[in-house]
């Protein structure tokens, strides 16, 4: 077997009380797509950050082409040909698309022609734009290169970050959940790029919670659990169910929505680019391509982004602020976790936030009651650790997402709006969140959730609203007609 | 038909001393038929230069300036000379060759007088605290130097505390509090002006040392006069800024008419303590 391009030997890394990496060894060969899977908090991102020069391991070493290397910063990693695209969104809002793609290796040309020493004095804009366009083109994207990145949607910004890694022409490309916010079409483009890079001999380390993707593209798969490598499987030896079992140590049954319960009375009605009507005991999926307006629809229903006129239980209501909607019994899980959580506060403070009036009086909070309720919720949601006084920033992504859910379960709401609720969540947690959605509906509530994963839409919804160009293009009920292809047809248009 | 204007640039606009001086300037100018145009500088030299340039641009006939600093605003004098606008210093002075005249107080002499007063009042021996004015100001440096010159004649008078700072009552209070703690046997506090002195005398009263620690001020503002009357302030120096301002206008008007003056025209100063306070209290 040839020397692996990138290898880890016996890496350990500890964060105060948590062993994020526990004697991890790992090998990545040229021309291979190597998947890394594991539950939320298993240590995947930590391993990747060691490769990217962001974390220093406590012990163990990293080898490139068989030779041990010391990576002190991302710049060191790039110098060794390792390009990492991290899990968190990392773009510079005020810079242009082209600059963001080429950040860190902006092309130059001499200020004084022929005098190479003056190259640091002059940015080569033409080459920068060309290279950026090429990188984006590989993802089948054609953005306005001079547009500021903060004008783009979340998913579009995610694509810019991926293009940045591609622009590096690295020998090792590390992608930490690149598809979490992408929709089908972008995912397919990305896979095509990965295939091409692989053919060109690039080694690819790929982290995802979408196990079907792994099965589709990975040549090899390493499974992590609690900071340790628990399995290293070659293509053919893993199926989605198999991987899930390795990850969690048990079988994970992804339940699909059963026979639709008889929908109850209408809870919420609004006319926003079409009729939106949510019934009690109903889970409704909201499908749409990038930029189709799903996020805006959910936000307006929630009183943000300008608000909306709506009817709750037949009562007319104008929501101008989320506070209005919450008072009327509407909650929302936003599409970016940073919009849902005060990261430096405790779990309890976060859960209590939309429910400040519920615990105690205006002049005194009943912290004991809050702690009790929150602990119960954390246990019910299987948040690890189920500690109300843990600081949210230190939780893994999946656990953070559950804390956002807990905020609304603690509140007395009837309608739950969710924007990409399972983005970046591991299979087990995802199944749990799906179950919680249905339980919420089962108790008489209504759920409207947007997702870019069509199988999730089809699998979990009693009904589906499809959006196209800021308007509702179709309304589908559960039954024979509700297939992924039908939803795809309803949302697709030429952009 | 516009009246001829004179320009005025003073170092501060929030200090009662200069406010009174400006009052005198305005009153005398009105009597002589001049308009007065003022620019502010707030102890910022560049700002004072800018202000004088602005005055010249306004076409004033002459300028009364109290320069923040002896050299720092020379450019203002140069600008005036270049525009052939006479410029006369009032109170503070400049080293600029373009300074025509200085309507001055005799700072060093005043300092010597204060020093002699303190030395005499404490019986020629004892510990003294100095709460001086802002750093970099020649006036306050000259005053302190004059005081120390007097003290040098009394070997038993000892300066045990010497700090400078902003001319505010709060600063006087705080520094005096600390000076009194550091020196339980303090005999006197020299304060750079009346605001500082009033703060210092408050600290003396609060420490129960009224009558044992004497405090001196400077400028003779009304609250200080009252404090002299009730004994919490031993002495202040009356410079009568109103008269000073009037004198400045007179000198400038005289110069414009072609009269000749010596390089420095001094204003009188009077030490006010319990003996002569009766004459100085404003008549009700």
């Amino acid at each position: 077997m040839p020397t692996p391009v990138l290898a880890a030997e016996d890496l350990s890394k500890r964060f105060i009380a948590i062993k994020a990496l526990d004697h991890v060894s790992f090998e990545l060969a040229a021309g291979e797509v190597h998947a890394l899977v594991g539950e939320n908090g298993a240590g995947k991102s930590t391993l990747i950050k060691v490769f990217g020069g962001i974390h220093r391991p406590d012990s163990g070493r990293v080898l490139v082409d068989g030779a041990p290397v010391e990576l002190h910063s991302p710049a060191d990693a790039y110098a060794k040909g390792i390009a990492v695209i991290g899990q968190e969104l990392r773009v510079v809002p005020a810079l242009s698309v082209a600059e963001n793609v080429m950040l860190g290796h902006l092309p130059t040309r001499p200020l004084v022609p022929g005098l190479a020493a003056t190259a640091c004095l002059r940015l080569d804009r033409a080459r920068m734009r060309a290279a950026a366009a090429a990188a984006l083109g590989r993802l089948n994207l054609a953005f306005d290169l001079d547009q500021r990145v903060d004008q783009l949607t979340f998913a579009e910004r995610q694509s810019v970050a991926i293009a940045r890694a591609l622009s590096r022409n690295a020998r090792v490309l590390v992608l930490d959940e690149p598809t979490a916010a992408l929709e089908e079409r972008e995912v397919q483009s990305l896979f095509a790029v990965i295939e091409a890079l692989k053919a060109a001999g690039v080694a690819i380390l790929y982290v995802s919670h979408r196990l079907d993707e792994i099965v589709a593209i990975a040549d090899r798969c390493t499974v992590m659990r609690d900071g340790r490598v628990v399995a290293d499987l070659a293509r053919g030896a893993f199926s989605a169910a198999e991987l899930a079992r390795h990850m969690t140590g048990r079988d994970v049954a992804e339940e699909r929505a059963g026979a639709a319960a008889a929908p109850g009375e209408v809870l919420l009605e609004a006319a926003l680019g079409g009729d939106v009507r949510l019934h009690a005991r109903e889970v409704v999926g909201l499908a749409g391509l990038l930029g189709s307006g799903t996020t805006e629809l959910l936000r307006r229903l929630f009183g943000a982004a300008g608000g909306a006129r709506l009817q709750m239980r037949g009562r007319a209501l104008v929501t101008r602020h989320p506070a209005d909607s919450i008072a009327a019994g509407i909650g929302m899980v936003p599409n970016e976790r940073i919009l849902g959580l005060v990261l430096d506060q405790t779990v309890r403070d976060n859960v209590v936030l939309p429910n400040l009036a519920r615990f105690g009086a205006w002049w005194r909070m009943d912290d004991a009651a809050a702690t009790r309720v929150v602990r119960e919720l954390l246990e019910a949601l299987d948040v690890r650790p189920p500690d109300p006084s843990a600081v949210v920033r230190r939780l893994s992504g999946g656990n953070q997402q559950k804390v956002i859910l807990a905020k609304w379960l603690a509140a007395r709401i009837d309608v739950l709006l969710m924007d990409e609720p399972t983005q970046g969540i591991d299979v087990a947690a995802k199944a749990q969140i799906h179950r919680l959605m249905r339980e919420f509906a089962g108790r008489g509530g209504a759920v409207l959730f947007a997702s870019s994963e069509l199988d999730e839409i089809v699998g979990q919804s009693d009904g589906v609203l499809a959006m196209r160009r800021q308007a509702i293009s179709a309304r589908m009920a559960r039954g024979a007609g509700l297939t992924e292809q039908a939803v795809r047809d309803a949302i697709t248009y030429q952009r | 038909q516009q009246k001829p204007a004179i320009g005025v640039s003073l170092p501060q606009d929030d200090n009662p001393f200069y406010i009174a001086m400006l009052r005198g300037i305005r009153a005398r100018a009105a009597e002589l038929g001049f308009d007065v145009i003022t620019v502010s500088s707030q102890e910022d030299k560049a700002k004072q230069i800018n202000g004088v340039q602005d005055l010249i641009a306004r076409g004033v006939k002459g300028i009364l300036i109290s320069p923040i600093d002896a050299v720092g605003v020379n450019a203002a004098y140069d600008a005036a000379a270049a525009a052939k606008v006479p410029i006369i210093s009032v109170a503070r002075a400049s080293t600029s060759p373009n300074q025509l005249l200085h309507v001055a107080m005799d700072e060093r002499q005043i300092g010597r007088d204060i020093g002699a007063y303190i030395a005499k009042a404490i019986g020629g021996k004892g510990k003294v605290a100095i709460i001086a004015g802002p750093p970099g100001s020649p006036t306050f440096k000259n005053l302190s130097d004059g005081i120390k010159e007097s003290f040098a004649k009394h070997s038993a008078v000892q300066v045990v505390f010497d700090q400078f700072g902003a001319l505010t009552r709060e600063r006087g209070l705080k520094l005096a509090e600390d000076a009194l703690v550091a020196n339980p046997d303090l005999a006197a506090i020299y304060a750079a002006n009346d605001d500082v002195a009033l703060g210092a005398s408050q600290a003396v009263v609060a420490a129960g040392r009224k009558g044992k620690v004497l405090v001196t001020g400077m400028n003779g503002i009304p609250p200080a006069l009252r404090a002299v009357q009730d004994g919490s302030l031993a002495m202040t120096v009356e410079l009568n800024p109103v008269d000073w301002g009037r004198l400045g206008v007179d000198v400038l008007a005289g110069y414009l008419k072609g009269e000749k003056y010596k390089q420095q025209v001094f204003i009188k100063h009077v030490l006010i303590d319990s003996k002569n306070i009766g004459d100085k209290m404003p008549k009700k």
Partner: protein, 311 residues
């Protein structure tokens, strides 16, 4: 856990070390008179720093407090001469709260940056003070009512009345921040404005309210200072804004908001006050005092940063 706790108390440790060093250098430092002076010297700035803590926790910034101190002191004195002590005190605090409200509205409604907003009001309010008073102390020819002056001098249980004010406020306002829903919403808004908004907090109102607290407390400080200086002083309070912000940050609050505790800001104030007092007692040259104060500010902040790197 114990290490964590210790590391969280670095400002307190800094304060104690500073106190011990000064006490060793000059035994007068611990004399009852001096300790009582230190408390009084700290009282006014403590009240301002508490208001600043509200603003900073909420993610803001207030440069106008120094001018507000002068305004409220002068307004208090003017009103007091006409309408009695109670009216004067109320007017002083109210005018501070009003400036705070103006700051809050400019920041939230006009969306002007807090730095520039409060820099503007700092300059503007100082102008108003001078206009109101002709930049002469208030009153000029008379005394303020004796009970008001006594308040600045007299003691209760051996401690100046002026010191009891911040003590009482510390307890009351710590409760507000730590125990009321409103207090939680201040922390949440400063910690992550968007997340607070999506949790139904009316973030603009919360932010504006922090400026009102800050203005009102600067108003209280102005009244206290008027009592201590036995007059309204139009030039009072210069540089208080920087001292107060420094104290809050030395106490461990983050300038980006969402963190901070009132008692820690008080510790920050005492670091600054004790340092100044100690240097005066030692009759350190004014020039060297500046060098020492600058260095200690940086070192104290650097020590506190160890906390962040404990990981």
């Amino acid at each position: 856990m114990r290490r964590d706790f210790l590391v969280g108390q670095i400002p307190l440790i800094t304060l104690i070390v500073l106190g011990v060093v000064i006490a060793v250098l000059t035994p007068r430092f611990l004399s009852p008179l001096n300790l009582s002076n230190v408390l009084v010297q700290a009282a006014v700035i403590t009240v301002i720093a508490m208001g600043m803590t509200f603003v900073i926790i909420g993610g803001g910034f207030d440069l106008s407090v120094g001018s507000v101190v002068a305004l409220s002191g002068c307004v208090c004195a003017m009103v007091m001469m006409e309408a009695g002590i109670a009216a004067g005190v109320a007017a002083g605090v109210a005018v501070g709260a009003l400036v705070g409200l103006a700051n809050g509205l400019i920041v939230t409604v006009l969306k002007v940056n807090p730095f520039i907003t409060t820099l503007g009001t700092m300059v503007l309010v100082r102008g108003v003070v001078f206009l109101l008073t002709g930049s002469q102390q208030v009153p000029i020819d008379q005394s303020l009512p004796q009970p008001f002056i006594d308040f600045g001098i007299e003691r209760l249980l051996g401690i100046h009345y002026l010191v009891w004010v911040p003590v009482a406020l510390l307890f009351a306002l710590s409760w507000v921040l730590a125990r009321t829903p409103y207090g939680r919403s201040v922390y949440a808004t400063g910690g992550n404005r968007e997340a607070a908004y999506f949790s139904g907090i009316r973030v603009d109102r919360v932010v504006a309210s922090t400026y009102v607290w800050c203005g009102a407390l600067a108003g209280v400080a102005g009244v206290m200072l008027a009592s201590r200086l036995q007059s309204g002083q139009p030039t009072a309070g210069e540089f208080y804004e920087l001292t107060a912000i420094a104290a809050v940050v030395l106490g461990g609050a983050a300038l980006h908001g969402g963190e901070g505790k009132l008692y820690k800001s008080v510790i920050g104030v005492f670091i600054m006050v004790i340092l100044g007092n100690g240097l005066n007692l030692l009759n350190v040259d004014s020039y060297w005092q500046r060098v020492a104060i600058g260095a200690v500010i940086i070192l104290a902040a650097a020590a506190d940063r160890l906390r962040a790197r404990r990981g």
